[in-house]
Symmetry: C2
Subunit: 404 residues, 2 copies
Amino acid sequence: MNTRFASRMAQVKPSAIRELLQYGADPSIIAFGGGYPDASLFPIEQLNHVFEASILQNGSESLQYGLSTGLPRLRAQIADRMRGDNVECSANNVLILQGGQQGLDLVGKLLIDKGDTILTEDPTFLGALIAFAPFEPKYITVPMDEEGIQIDALERTLEAHGRIKFLYTVPDFQNPTGVTMTLARRKRLIELANKYDFIILEDSPYRETRYEGEHVPPIKSLDTEGRVLFLGSFSKILAPGLRLGWMVASEELIEQLGLLKLAADTQTSTLNMSAVSLYLDTYSIDQHIEKIKTLYHHKRDVMLNAIKASFPEEVIFTIPGGGMFTWLTLPEGVDSQRFMLDHALPEAKVTYVPGATFFPLAPRHNHARISFATQSDDNIRKGMSALGSCLKRSLQKTTVTSVI
Amino acid sequence: MNTRFASRMAQVKPSAIRELLQYGADPSIIAFGGGYPDASLFPIEQLNHVFEASILQNGSESLQYGLSTGLPRLRAQIADRMRGDNVECSANNVLILQGGQQGLDLVGKLLIDKGDTILTEDPTFLGALIAFAPFEPKYITVPMDEEGIQIDALERTLEAHGRIKFLYTVPDFQNPTGVTMTLARRKRLIELANKYDFIILEDSPYRETRYEGEHVPPIKSLDTEGRVLFLGSFSKILAPGLRLGWMVASEELIEQLGLLKLAADTQTSTLNMSAVSLYLDTYSIDQHIEKIKTLYHHKRDVMLNAIKASFPEEVIFTIPGGGMFTWLTLPEGVDSQRFMLDHALPEAKVTYVPGATFFPLAPRHNHARISFATQSDDNIRKGMSALGSCLKRSLQKTTVTSVI
């Protein structure tokens, strides 16, 4: 009977991140791999209040079925916030999602026919590759630098390739690199989308966490032809365990994606939508986000200072202005996965996410994604110091070996 | 740009149920269409307690990311309950879902390649047709009678057709007919599945609400070859706004579906899983289910008595032993959708779900699904009495017209 699953099963591959989670159970290991927000930031008392009020005062509605597109009040509140971020929209342009990840699944289901071409940054968010995989797309990738996707390379690719189904980008504090696309590139990206007639899927769960540098408007705010789909999330600004995200797109697309949402899981939890809607009405989420920014800014500094103090010079790292990740570039020839299993884990007792998994086509093996959001200051210092020593020893040996 | 969506959009059709929901806003209309449980049954105080405890005492875990297969404790608790229902399984055989509906989506994604044949009961659950549609299957249907799917007809179909991908069934108090498959037919169904080598998707959200007649074991309990996937739900025994369901299947399938779950929405809400797990540990859900059964039994009787008292004799209805629906068969030639728009809505001020939407291939137009779960006793009596008078007038006219 198993042969029946074989063809589809080839599409379903365990995520490297998921595989690594098992090390989280060992208390002597300091994990920098996961994309978990710092749990000390969860507004426990306030969330308890809004859940209590939603259940006790409004249980017959908040525990019942609702609309598949989401609680109308919450859609309106999100539209308000998006307008504050320069995106013209109303509640009808907002679809409530089971976390931002669900948006990737629904867009894949709506737009990807087997063999269609999707263009991504290189590297890109692993969760998107996992979400698109069942629909069997082909990928074209365009390299990034410190200003985001390389726009000249993108233009040459579009000229050479012709029609693509959509371009997927994480423009703010990208997972995995921490890099933000500049405004100039966003403008050129929209021009190219209009010229070559493609859709842009803008996935931006970290955008509200900017703690350094200038605000850059969303790509969606530059969109004049309804061709940008924006994905947002409460996971990094409230709590991921609530599973609440949203999409902003044209009314036509929201209607279609709403039907796919109905097909996929009927709707997001009415209770969780009601509670978060009440939270937004009762408290200032912006004040709460200020706390998140302050802490992540501090933790980023602790990590980057520890890296500067202890890593060998050959190791390059990005300096994110928001979000949770820095991206390491080890010398060519060093395989970060091999290095973790042979050295980082047994000698330094740290984990990270080896970078190869984030490249859709041609894995580059000398990268690593490191999160500074989850661990304490002491653990960040201890872990980076140990990893630095370990890297120095190992790179020295490699050099010696290569000289011999 | 819109042409790009055209082919896939043909797969996404508004659900008749969803269209009807708009009438729910008119307070003078008595709606028998929705599949909403009676909100007075939601255990408000108890749910408030377990949410409060999950947030205040365990917020750093219950508001954080967790495992995509679901909270381990909840998987074990569901396995316990399933073993109590004669299904051999452990926590590793259980996948937590965003409501039972998500199981339909994930199974569709895993198993259906475009053009694959799926066999269903005729009529069948509309939500399944909506979930499978994006994967573009073909359907074969087998008629039902008061004992469930007609097993001789099924065998002839299998002989004639050969290989199918899977058979989809709602064996307990089926949505829409209210019919339960007999044990004898379940046994023959398993024999046929073994002989013709197909998978059975057993979707049973109402099974724990039996208020009359003898318990019939799940098809999954008769499965000796790991070919039955069982779908369960907390929507009808706790509250649908929590969005919690589960699948029981072989460990191999759960592993694969767990990866598709990760791709689809990362995971179900950690908070909702934690709270329901605590509910199961703290309270007796079986005692709570007794209350649900008592109320639905009573409401079914109120409805069937009202139907008997006021409907014309030509209208046939099913007598469900559990669940929320009865299924009307109007005389041949009466179109239930037309009748609702022309008579039931303007004259009797009631809505139901016209039956045509539940037939995957050849709609039969003289059926209607009526729910007795949501409305008060008075509304049930009032609505059925008005609908009965309206049917009598209309059927009389039809007869006169046809005689002339």
